[in-house]
Point group: C3
Chain length 221, copies 3
């Protein structure tokens, strides 16, 4: 019973994550002036990319997004809605470019938190629960995978490489889930761990947490 | 017997698709001023990328292009021929840049049609024939996969996101195949369905079919 | 016993290749002005990307880099050391931009040679030893995979497409290993074959070996 509850919680989480990443992908596509179908496609790829990567890496082929149309359909409908809002009221959709960027960031952070958790959970469900490293690393990869695809296809440097505390937030969330699920009901552990990633990521953006960089010596380039 | 005929038809189709995508990849590489080996490599990656993606997603590892050298060899020879034509007669090869672009588009459309069909067929052959969504989605992914790799490696926004009715043509062709194969001989269904994708894609280019876009409010960026 | 020796030699080789690619990835990230975490991440992706691709293509899921933390940890520590050197003494790290590029090239060539060999060896170990094409192609893909990911994520045209005799050096090294391992102890065959790739690649850079290119007719673009 616990197992079936866990699966249900994981599925609900995945739907929410799919919606969040579809919004971020669709907004990104609108930003790049893609047409309606480009918006749908980038929304779908962003929303399902991380999960596909996760399933291929775990050897669970074909990936869930291929077997069950619900993920692709959800992502398509959500992307369509985002497009319609932006199409009908372009002034309200993007008062300033900063507003759009901030909203992409927020939805991205929701997806990041949820997929970090579902990635770790999928690794456990596949029988790798005793390998903490694998579960956490799987969580991180699932969380950042969709966004990397979105950014590469949009021809921009992937968020994961330039944004403050991005992959790190996913790692901490996946780790939190792996520890919390040992003593809490799975659905609660999921919710809390996804929240940890979301909060860390938002705090990093809000307070502009910076990691050190190498000072560039200008010569040539 | 029907099964073996289907496999044969699928293989022949795949050779044609391999040739078409190799031409488009090689032309793309020449366009980016890559040297002979870069041209061969981009031709091979474009021609085999979609099929590799398809096999990995279906769990048919190692992918056919790894087991049977014929795909890589075909793509290499075709790319070499394209290079020789362009090298010996650069004036004739590219009278105008538009000519090159149009030819890349035509070969790309042939590959698109064929891989949409072979992708759907491979999903059926792998026992997923009762899942129409999976077969069609698989067809689309196989069709656009090689071109996405080609475009990302050439550092340009993938055709699939910016060209009119590109992925949509692949979806319609894959769907047509899934329906036609129920009442027609497989080879005929393949030919017709690949033709559907090709014709839709060419019509979209010819008549410049447009999907709506969001009007950009200029501010900042 | 020979088998266990081979595995050991392959593992040692993979550690060395991991270190070399981590250095090249970290230097690349510093060059792109990424922060500490971006440097760690690009180092890890470059170092483990080729091996992950190899394992997914061979169907050996989850890939070794997911099961055994040693690869990710090694890559992370190496990337951290590169970052510290560059951070503490930026003047010494990059006297000129050419110095940095040359060092990235050297470490990349070491990784290229080693992963060409371990890729071919993994294909043999997976029971494909009688398919020479598969082993060599697998070697090439493993060797260039990490670098392609590094370059795409850094938003630059992949080295494999523009550098002289890059993939070709990997192909020759993988082929050399497949032939040498039939008559020499595996560890020695590995060492020699990886050396072949490294030497060819360095000679190509040193003497600026060029392959023909198509002369571009200027019009429009």
């Amino acid at each position: 019973m616990t197992a079936s509850l866990l699966i249900t919680a994981a599925q609900i989480a995945e739907y929410i994550g799919t919606v969040a990443f579809a919004v971020s992908g669709a907004m990104c596509a609108i930003d790049r002036e893609l047409d309606l179908f480009g918006v749908l496609l980038l929304g779908i790829i962003t929303a399902t990319g991380g999960g596909m990567l996760r399933d291929v890496i775990l050897g669970a082929t074909p990936p869930a997004a291929f077997i069950d149309p619900v993920y692709v359909l959800t992502a398509a409908i959500v992307s369509l809605l985002v497009f319609l809002v932006a199409y009908i009221r372009p002034e309200r959709y993007s008062r300033t470019h900063e507003t759009v960027d901030r909203r992409i960031d927020i939805f991205d952070a929701i997806g990041l938190g949820i997929f970090a958790v579902t990635g770790a959970e999928a690794a456990m469900a596949a029988g790798h629960g005793d390998n903490l490293f694998l579960c956490v690393f799987m969580g991180m990869n699932t969380a950042v995978g969709g966004g990397i695809l979105r950014d590469i296809l949009s021809m921009r440097v992937p968020m994961v490489l330039v944004k403050h505390v991005y992959a790190l937030a996913a790692i901490i969330g996946a780790l939190a889930f792996c520890l919390l699920v040992r003593c809490l009901p799975p659905a609660l552990a999921m919710f809390l761990a996804a929240g940890v990633t979301f909060v860390i990521r938002r705090l990093a953006v809000r307070f502009n947490w910076n990691l050190p960089k190498v000072r560039q010596i200008q010569n040539g380039k």
